[in-house]
Amino acid sequence: MTDIDDDLRDVLRNRPDNTGAGEVPGFDDVWARAESTVAQRRLRTRAVGGIAAAAALVAIVFVSQLRPTEQEWQFVDPDEFASSTSWVAPSDILLPKHQFDIYGEIPVLIESTERDGGTLL
């Protein structure tokens, strides 16, 4: 240790703005305020979490009500199907969405009776 070390220690420890005994705030006061802050933060976090959970629940219920209800699947009973002479689709879900009129919608075939080198055009 050199002389400057002792001087530094002396200056830094005894400076007037360093902590004098009367200036240090009581530990209990500071600690109590810190505990209160932590408790308030926890309360706030819980409140925000509760609000967020409630909002999420409301959103889930709302979205689920908007979605169309799905039709229940019905499976064909193989025995019944084999012993029957007629069959209908057990549910509309298995039917094609578009039912077309075979007379009205089938395109008219182009007919030609002219030939070109032995081949019908």
């Binding site: 002396d10 200056v11 420890r13 400076r15 902590t19 305020r33």
Partner: protein, 170 residues
Amino acid sequence: MRDSDVLDNNPHVSRSALEAMHGQVFGWALSRCDFQQAVAEDLVQQAYVELLAGKARFDGKSSLKTFVFAVVQNLSRNRYRRIAIRLRLLEKAGTESGPDVTQAVEPGENENLWKAVQRLPARQRDIIELVFCRDMTIEEASTVMGVTTGTGRVHYDRAKKALRGRLEND
């Protein structure tokens, strides 16, 4: 360390251990904020909040004192960052406002040495304060400052050289 003393979110920290070093922690906080009593009190309270909430978790890698000093150091850095952002915003808005800095009172004796310490760059001043005023080793002081021991040693040596040079010139 009494079991009831131990913090819920920090099993290696006890209330009584913090109480024992409260004065020193407050002194360190004071020097981090231009010796403004209210701000220092706020910094110490925030440090306790971080410890209570478990956001600053002590795992026993250093001494508790080093750890708590480092927490205060980080909080004061964040505070200065916030102040700097606010000042930049005020400058942008065209408002004239300066930082509210309280001048430290200078001691009568060894005035030259005190002035020389105050003129040191921030890191050198910090390590000198931690070593000579807070009884820390260079290694502990480096941990508080968030630098390697080698870097801390360089700051320490430079600070001592600068102080010697200035005292010889005066």
